[in-house]
């Protein structure tokens, strides 16, 4: 039981540095900065003004032929667009039959919170009576996963997991479980998030936002930068993928979770070490099997030193030379979409044998004594990688991903 292998056969990306996985991948390797002055709301009263927004992309046209694709909120649009890309990439449109159980497993931090923020503005400036029904309908998280299923007619298990900044990893992990348990034949998994005033407000208030760039692992790092986007992968069982001649990007060997259970916002070395240990145990591997870690790497003082200490706890001396890079240096923190987008970076790294860099890196921090693949991508030949994600509330999840060898 539960011995089946689960693989990634399609990828869809909506990000601040590229739309579609190829553009995203090229931008990652080139070390592209996706954080820019915030457009969505007026930041003049805020201490910082930079965000990782998706500019110059309107998914509406791309998804307009799908049923139920009208009047979707921004996060749901991102999710549906990324799903369409992933479905086309997996070449599944043609090979799916009505009998196939296609599930959806999506993560988010704030759901379609721009809708709630419109409600909040109307409430404050006109009164609660004058808030509008359309926003109440589109705001809640479950309308995101329902939108994907309705647009594509998917009847399989439809699950929404809002475990904040680790949600994408939770969702991909649970999708893997659903396939192993035969609860679905294909699962659309990942995360989606629209840019949020509430998030920007909150992180600014706790002084966790960098005023210019996100510098993970740098001695002078000044914080994270809130962002947005969607990352979707198509997961299926290896034998099914093989039978239909699908291209396989990577294998999901397993995942683990842990909970700090100590503090809502301060990460714990034990909790973070436990999640990597649990993930390796679930995948049946040892620390020495791992050749790369795609970090949570938010660029805050607390996260980066905690993550590095935990890596040292698990990997010992190998931590000195372990490549550990952070996509957030480029995208900022796409919240519920972050770990999905970063898992995709990790999958593509394994597929193409190239590590994505941590950009904006200048000064070594003795508390972050890892090899963060500074500023330039480079080749690597390891077979197995870990994708870390840690969330508010101490909800941690790590994926173990592997190059596909037949």
């Amino acid at each position: 039981m539960h011995q089946q292998r689960v693989v990634v056969t399609g990828i869809g990306v909506v990000s601040s540095i590229g739309i579609g996985w190829q553009a995203y991948w090229d931008a990652l390797l080139a070390g592209t900065l996706g954080t820019t002055p915030v457009n969505y709301f007026d930041t003049s009263e805020f201490p910082t003004h930079i965000g990782g927004e998706v500019h110059n992309y309107q998914p509406t046209e791309f998804i307009s032929e799908l049923p139920h694709s009208q009047n979707l909120a921004r996060g749901a649009q991102f999710a549906v667009a990324a799903t369409k890309m992933a479905m086309e990439d997996a070449d599944l449109d043609r090979s799916l039959s009505l009998d196939n159980k296609v599930g959806v497993c999506l993560g988010t931090t704030m759901a379609d919170v721009q809708e709630l923020e419109t409600i909040n503005s109307d409430w404050v400036f006109k009164g609660p009576k004058h808030t509008s029904a359309a926003q109440y309908k589109r705001y809640p998280s479950f309308s995101m996963s329902a939108s994907i299923a309705k647009c594509f007619g998917f009847k399989g298990p439809n699950t929404m997991i809002p475990t904040a900044c680790a949600a994408g990893n939770y969702a991909i992990g649970y999708a893997h479980d659903l396939l192993k348990l035969n609860k679905a034949d294909v699962v659309i998994a990942g995360g989606a998030e629209p840019f949020s005033r509430t998030v920007f407000e909150g992180f600014n208030r706790i002084f966790a936002v960098s005023p210019d760039k996100c510098r993970p692992f740098d001695k002078n790092r000044k914080g994270m930068i809130p962002g947005e986007g969607a990352g979707i992968v198509v997961l299926e069982r290896y034998e099914d993928a093989q039978a239909r001649g699908a291209t396989v990007y990577a294998e999901v060997l397993g995942y683990g979770t842990s909970c700090d259970a100590t503090h809502m916002t301060i990460p714990s070395v034990n909790g973070v070490a436990n999640v990597m240990r649990n993930a390796l145990k679930q995948a049946g591997l040892n620390p020495e099997d791992v050749g790369y870690i795609n970090a949570h790497g938010t660029g805050t003082a607390a996260n980066d030193k905690t993550e590095c200490a935990a890596i040292r706890k698990i990997f010992g001396e190998r931590a000195d030379s372990m490549p550990v890079s952070s996509v957030k240096s480029m995208l900022g923190h796409a919240m519920g979409a972050a770990s999905a987008l970063e898992a995709i970076a990790c999958i593509l790294s394994l597929k193409f044998g190239q590590l994505v860099p941590t950009i904006n890196y200048e000064n070594m921090d003795t508390e972050c004594d890892i090899d963060c693949v500074p500023n330039k991508s480079r080749k690597f030949d390891s077979k197995v990688a870990i994708k870390n994600a840690f969330a508010f509330g101490g909800n941690n999840a790590s994926l173990v991903l592997a190059e596909m060898n037949s």
Partner: protein, 398 residues
């Protein structure tokens, strides 16, 4: 089936509009005591609906003590009290040896939407530099589940499931899968919902709520036949573990969860599908999972909440699945007693289903549906939502 693949309920914690603690809740369910009453948490004078299932005078201090409660919102406090009751009821001692094997799976679709909205509105009113940083952690949807872990030192799997009306049904399904895969030994599983003006306005403006003058909100909460629903709130959590684990520690077993089925119905376009294709699919999956047939089911816990099309779709599914037996099934509907508590609804359905054979069947409503019933053997717990999420759970009394 292997004992480590059988999932059982070994603890119950309920904070309901008609009673806090399993005894009060069950007794009031049995007597048909309604928790639906005039709303006191916010002013409803601008709207044509004034009743809800409110947890009156909710005071967490007797359960949790005074310490550390100041910055917690109502959603979190309801969750903490239900968790505390469930842990105590299960008899599980949380120690350094087992805390990383004990976790939480909470059904919650919006977390505390009041916390999220209030935080942003404070920024709009006072300026972004004046929001209260201590309230910021309350704005993530996974905050209530995380606070349960922090309060009780639970370092195992911690997750939140947010599928709307089915969030707590689906939390149960998720937890079953986690336990079967050995990802945790014990999970506190259920759902929570807080009554607040934000949720009230959402339901009200989307036309889901019964409006106008009630003849009797207690006897006829949905203004039959189907004018709309009445909201509820609260939290219900269960301790779930494998039969093997429960046996080893000699735990009292309330029920076994025999099966779980989950489907999405793309035909639902913000209204229930009269053909109930997805709901029937979920029921069939639950039967297959439990290795049972329709004739093995004795009672059904309904998801009907007064919203137009919900009861009709559900009854159609039951007729199709059970044929002539559909009329013989005992039906219960907890929402008639406590209102539609959204993400906590499924957990309350299950909590009511555990009333077991202790109680006499009674009829409170002016319809044929009983608010509480004399349960025997296997019950089918249904969940259905207008966006298309469909769930069925089969419980067997221990």
């Amino acid at each position: 089936m292997d004992d480590n693949q059988r999932i059982v309920i070994t603890g119950v914690g309920v904070v309901a509009p008609n009673g806090i603690g399993k005894e009060a809740f069950w007794e009031n369910c049995a007597k048909g005591v309604s928790g639906i009453k005039p709303i006191t948490l916010f002013d409803t004078s601008d709207y044509r609906c004034h009743y809800a299932g409110e947890v009156s005078d909710f005071d967490p201090v007797p359960y949790l003590g005074k310490k550390g409660l100041r910055n917690l919102d109502r959603t979190t406090l309801l969750s903490l009290v239900a968790a505390k009751l469930a842990i105590e009821d299960s008899g599980i001692a949380i120690t350094d040896e087992n805390r990383d094997e004990i976790g939480v799976v909470l059904g919650s679709t919006m977390g505390s939407v009041k916390s999220i909205s209030d935080f942003d509105m404070e920024g709009l009113r006072e300026g972004p530099r004046y929001v209260n940083p201590a309230k910021f952690p309350n704005t993530v949807i996974n905050s209530p589940a995380s606070q349960v872990a922090i309060r009780f030192g639970l370092q195992g799997l911690n997750s939140t499931i947010s599928t709307g009306f089915n969030a707590s049904h689906d939390a149960v399904g998720y937890a079953m899968n986690m336990l079967k895969l050995g990802r945790a030994q014990t999970l506190l599983v259920g759902g929570v919902e807080e009554l607040c003006l934000q949720t009230f306005l959402g339901f009200y403006k989307l036309g889901l709520m019964a409006r106008g003058t009630f003849t009797d909100p207690v006897k006829d909460p949905f203004m039959a036949p189907h004018k709309g629903t009445v909201l509820g709130e609260g939290a219900a959590l269960f301790a779930l573990e494998t039969y093997e684990g429960a046996k080893q520690r000699g735990a009292h077993i309330y029920a076994e969860i025999l099966g779980y089925g989950q489907q999405f119905d793309p035909e639902c376009d913000d209204r229930y599908n009269p053909q109930a294709t997805g709901l029937m699919g979920a029921i069939e999956e639950a039967f297959a999972d439990a290795n049972l047939k329709p004739e093995d089911i004795d009672s059904v816990s309904l998801s009907a909440n007064g919203v137009k099309g919900c009861a009709e779709s559900e009854e159609y599914a039951l007729e199709q699945v059970f044929g002539y037996r559909a009329k013989e099934l005992t039906r219960t509907n907890i929402r008639k007693l406590i209102g539609e508590s959204f993400s906590a609804g499924g957990a309350f359905q299950m909590a009511q289903s555990l009333v077991a054979s202790k109680t006499e069947p009674i009829t409170t409503a002016a319809t044929s549906v009983q608010a509480s019933a004399n349960f025997t053997a296997n019950s089918l717990v249904l969940g259905s939502g207008p966006l298309g999420h469909m769930t069925a759970i089969i419980l067997k009394q221990g």
